[in-house]
């Protein structure tokens, strides 16, 4: 089955490229193969998580020194395979319809080829059991997604600039990850190997300083991919620049592979025993969440607002991971006395992973919806939209579900993961450390305010785009999108609701990975109810869902009744788009109050990342340019000079390595 998951994208890529001259057939072949492959991936992942089995395939490797190349699905891999597959399956249905907007504009075969390679590389990233194979897949993933970002460069020249920034940032990230892996590899006992099995527990053998360095390298390298502040500047440029189905995959899925690797490397290879690692991660994560949430309140581009919200959600995911590291550090001090802290570590890791799943579904859904809007109207500018809820009913309902999930409205999946996260933070009181007892509530407050700002952001994005009167001619002429696009969005919306209201079914699956990774499992409740360890707090998502569902159904049943429809009364002024609030106006009070946080330059900056650009990136870039100019002095273009350099280097080597 894993073989089929891995082989089908290759078939799809080849078929799609071969059919390049026939756009519809090419898209159907490419995305059809992707859809089947990802559905199989989801089934495989569910089987592994439920039965506790595993699956693996061996690959041929010509260089034995690099270890054995194989793909294997253990519990952690299976959960992330599920995250990747579910969202990709929905996106591939959607894409079959969405690709029509590129007919005659861009090569369908290139899209089919690249997207299949992209998916395959993500699957390999989360299932690889070898560091070298992992890095090869990681690089393939980065390059294929870079090509996809610039896919529409013919019509959107800005995407080249965004793509280049992405390419630079992701390579800096890859370099740091490679260094981190080499640092761990160099400290292995006995025969060193690049197989992950040889990395397990290597943290115990490493000198203190190197260990910390490896952690920081991995955090920065993987964090660059996840978009942690201040390494996030590329994300709000690159994710919106890509075609929307690719934005959905990048924001929904690709960033999770970095979360996977961070969990695997930090928790199983380095095995942190220092609580400050976790606290550092939590501090960075809270900052990321807040910065992302605040930046998502600004700007008029719907996809850009969603990309910033991805930054925010990556922050929430890392808060969970950081909490897990803190709890685990205290647990290992005295496992017998602190059994409860072990369970809390498992709970916060489960919260972190469940938020990965939830975010992949709702952000995939929101980007699909955000793609349907320009598909129907030709613009992503919220202040030229409005009134789409009446014109694109299915799209608007799906987007609404995504927005509610993101805003953590019960009983959708975003609420369940946020509940788990808040619960794990709340129970930090059982650690007897006064500093921690004050730091954890601070993290809790950061999560709370992030959630509230995210809700405000979603009211803005959904309300301005879909509700009210159309603000432009294009918006008033919008038509519902093709059936395939609607089907993809509906599938994702149903999954958002199901993974929320039926999350009790997922409870055992959530605990598989923690019990494998940190060797502790916690009871997450029985039957219909989710319970925190020790049965202290409980939540029955279905019981919350039923009254709300009943109310909505009742409302729909009653809406058939006769009703009077009259124009909105606006104090006698003529009704037009100018009577309505704009996207900028809607978030203005909040932006004004929070302005000290992102520091606009003279007037509200169109995006929050400018601050980081000004304070961090610009000095670094000018520094590198300066050094490069100095080095360029050596490059004189005369053969004699280069021969002299070679001679000098040889002499130095002879002296040093004599």
């Amino acid at each position: 089955m894993l073989l089929a998951v891995a082989a089908l994208p290759l078939v799809g890529a080849a078929a799609s490229a071969a059919l390049n001259s026939r756009p519809r057939a090419s898209a159907a072949a490419g995305f059809g193969a992707l859809g089947v492959s990802s559905a199989l991936g989801a089934a495989l992942a569910a089987l592994v998580l439920l039965d506790g089995g595993s699956a693996s395939i061996q690959l041929r490797n010509g260089i034995p020194a690099l270890g054995t190349f194989s793909l294997a699905v253990d519990a952690l891999s299976a959960f992330f395979l599920l995250v990747i597959s579910l969202s990709t399956a929905c996106v591939s249905i959607y894409s079959i319809g969405y690709m029509r907007s590129y007919e005659g504009k861009a090569s369908p075969g290139a899209m089919g080829l690249l997207v299949n390679v992209f998916f395959l590389s993500m699957v390999v990233v989360v299932t690889s059991t070898n560091a070298v194979l992992y890095l090869i897949a990681w690089e393939t993933m980065s390059l294929s997604s870079w090509l996809l970002v610039t896919y529409d460069h013919g019509h959107d020249p800005g995407s080249i600039k965004a793509g280049n920034l992405y390419l630079v940032m992701t390579h800096i990230g890859t370099a740091l990850i490679t260094l981190g892996l080499i640092a761990m590899w160099s400290c292995q006992a006995g025969d060193r190997s690049f197989d992950f099995s040889a990395f397990v527990g290597v943290g115990g053998l490493m000198p203190e300083l190197l260990r910390t360095a490896a952690f920081l390298l991995l955090l920065a390298g993987l964090g660059a991919k996840m978009g942690i502040v201040p390494l996030h500047v590329w994300l709000p440029e690159a994710h919106p620049a890509a075609p929307s189905n690719i934005s959905a995959l990048m924001s929904g899925v690709m960033v999770k592979t970095a979360a996977y690797m961070l969990i695997r490397t930090v928790l199983t290879f380095l095995e942190p025993t220092e609580a400050w690692w976790g606290l550092l991660l939590m501090a960075v994560a809270c900052l990321t969440a807040l910065a992302g949430a605040i930046a998502s309140l600004q700007g008029r581009d719907i996809k850009r607002a969603l990309a910033y919200s991805t930054v925010e959600n990556m922050g929430l995911i890392l808060v969970g991971l950081g909490a897990c590291m803190v709890f685990r550090a205290y647990y290992v001090m005295d496992p017998a006395a602190n059994a409860f802290l072990g369970e809390l570590a498992a709970l916060s890791l489960a919260a972190c992973m469940y938020h990965c799943l939830a975010h992949s579904l709702f952000k995939g859904l929101l980007f699909m919806g955000a793609g349907a809007v320009p598909f129907a109207t030709g613009t992503r500018d919220m202040d030229r939209l409005g009134g789409l809820a009446k014109r694109m009913r299915a799209t608007s309902v799906c987007f609404f579900v995504g927005a509610l999930s993101l805003a953590a409205v019960p009983p959708f999946n975003g609420f369940v993961s946020e509940w788990l996260l808040l619960q794990s933070l709340l129970m930090a009181r059982s650690i007897a450390d006064p500093t921690l007892n004050l730091l954890m509530p601070a993290a809790l407050a950061a999560v709370a305010v992030t959630g509230a700002i995210a809700a405000a952001g979603m009211v803005r994005v959904f309300g301005i785009t879909f509700l009210g009167r159309p603000r432009s001619e294009e918006a008033s002429r919008a038509k519902e999108v093709p059936a395939a696009m609607r089907a993809g969005m509906i599938a994702a919306a149903v999954l958002c609701a199901a993974t929320g209201a039926l999350s009790f079914l997922m409870a055992p699956m959530m605990m598989e990975a923690p019990s494998q990774i940190i060797g502790i499992s916690a009871d997450l409740g029985d039957g219909l109810t989710l319970r925190t360890p020790g049965g202290l707090s409980s939540l029955t998502p279905l019981a919350v869902a039923v009254p709300l569902m009943a109310a909505v159904l009742l409302a729909l049943a009653l809406s058939r009744r006769r009703q009077a429809a009259v124009p909105t009364w606006d104090c006698g002024t003529p009704l037009g788009p100018r009577n309505e609030y704009t996207s900028i106006g809607h978030s203005q009070p909040l932006v004004k109050v929070l302005s000290s946080f992102y520091r606009p330059h003279s007037r509200p900056a169109p995006d929050g990342s400018r601050t980081y650009w000004r304070l961090i990136y610009a000095p670094v870039i000018s520094g590198i340019t300066w050094v490069s100019h100095k080095i360029a002095l050596m490059q004189r273009g005369s053969v004699q000079a280069y021969l002299a350099y070679i001679f000098i280097v040889l002499l130095v080597l002879l002296v040093v390595l004599r």
Binding site: A389, V409, F415, V449, V459, G463, T529, E580, Y581
Partner: protein, 311 residues
């Protein structure tokens, strides 16, 4: 379970009277005689009988909002202990309660944009602004009391605190309760955050969002906000000042519990009216100062719990 269902029904039934009492008290304080305490029931009945008039620009969001709001607040009411220190707490805890009430806010703010009116947009924008700054204070104040019980279930917290000596919880509980009270004012659009009685466009927040509703829909939205206020007051009296609450569903204890609850909720409604009458509405951009104070109070409550411990 029957006792829990009964106390839920009690909460649902008294909600309009609580609002009526607050209005009456405020009227007396302003030297007016004011409408009778039971007037909200009559208003609701009258409005409920009328068919709604909806804007031409409105979509399905306007249709489902009144129903979703009533369902979410009624669902939240199930989680609150009233006369008995027990509730349908298996359904959810304080976090679920806060998020259910946030759901109401989100729906209301979205539906306010639906008619494309300036007022709706203004209300929606301001409501989400206040919501974003009240959330940390709200969550931190309930966290403080959750520390005592070691659980976030409202029923467990109520039971734990009511079985303790009030003196042992000083200064934690008063600090947390003060923070909760400020958050309560903000969440329920009361003075100084908003004025429930105003229709002046420069100052309205919550009312601006309700302008487009009429008939049955208006009745439901009004009832939802009345019930929301009552739920918050019930949380205040049953969780922060739970003494007198019935520990078990024994008929005698339950009767005392109901009586004590009524007395407490009347007291707090009158106090709310006094608090509202004593202050003027604050400027919109002064509100963060007030809410920051609430947050600091709640944080102090948490800190004092950890430093001094609860005996």
């Amino acid at each position: 379970v029957i006792a829990e269902a009964l106390q839920w029904a009690l909460l649902l039934a008294i909600a309009p009277a609580v609002t009526g009492l607050v209005r009456k008290t405020k009227a007396r304080l302003q030297g007016r005689s004011g409408p009778p305490v039971l007037q909200p029931y009559r208003d609701l009945r009258k409005m409920f009988a009328k068919p709604p008039v909806v804007s031409e620009d409105a979509s399905w969001v306007t249709w489902i909002t009144p129903y979703a709001c009533v369902a979410a607040v009624a669902g939240a009411a199930l989680l609150v202990p009233v006369a008995l220190s027990s509730s349908m707490s298996f359904m959810g805890d304080m976090i679920a309660l806060i998020y259910l009430l946030a759901t109401v806010r989100m729906f209301t703010a979205l539906a306010a944009l639906d008619a494309g009116s300036t007022f709706g947009g203004m209300g929606s924008s301001r409501e989400m602004y206040i919501a974003a700054i009240v959330e940390p204070a709200m969550l931190m104040s309930v966290l403080a009391v959750a520390l005592v019980a070691g659980s976030t279930s409202l029923a467990s917290v109520s039971a734990a605190i009511s079985s303790m000596d009030a003196g042992a919880l000083v200064p934690m509980l008063p600090l947390a309760a003060a923070a909760f009270c400020i958050a309560l004012l903000a969440e329920n659009s009361r003075i100084p955050f908003d004025n429930p009685a105003t229709h002046l466009e420069l100052t309205m927040v919550h009312e601006a969002m309700l302008l487009e509703y009429s008939g049955r829909h208006l009745a439901m939205m009004e009832y939802a906000s009345m019930l929301k206020l009552t739920v918050f007051l019930a949380v205040l009296v049953s969780v922060f000042v739970p003494w007198g609450i019935a520990p078990s569903a024994d008929a005698g204890q339950l009767a005392i519990g109901v009586a004590v609850f009524i007395v407490k909720i009347v007291t707090f409604s009158v106090l709310l009216a006094f608090a509202e009458s004593a202050r003027a509405k604050a400027r919109l951009f002064k509100l963060p100062d007030l809410l920051a104070m609430a947050f600091i109070l709640a944080l102090l409550a948490v800190a004092s719990y950890h430093m001094l411990g609860a005996a």
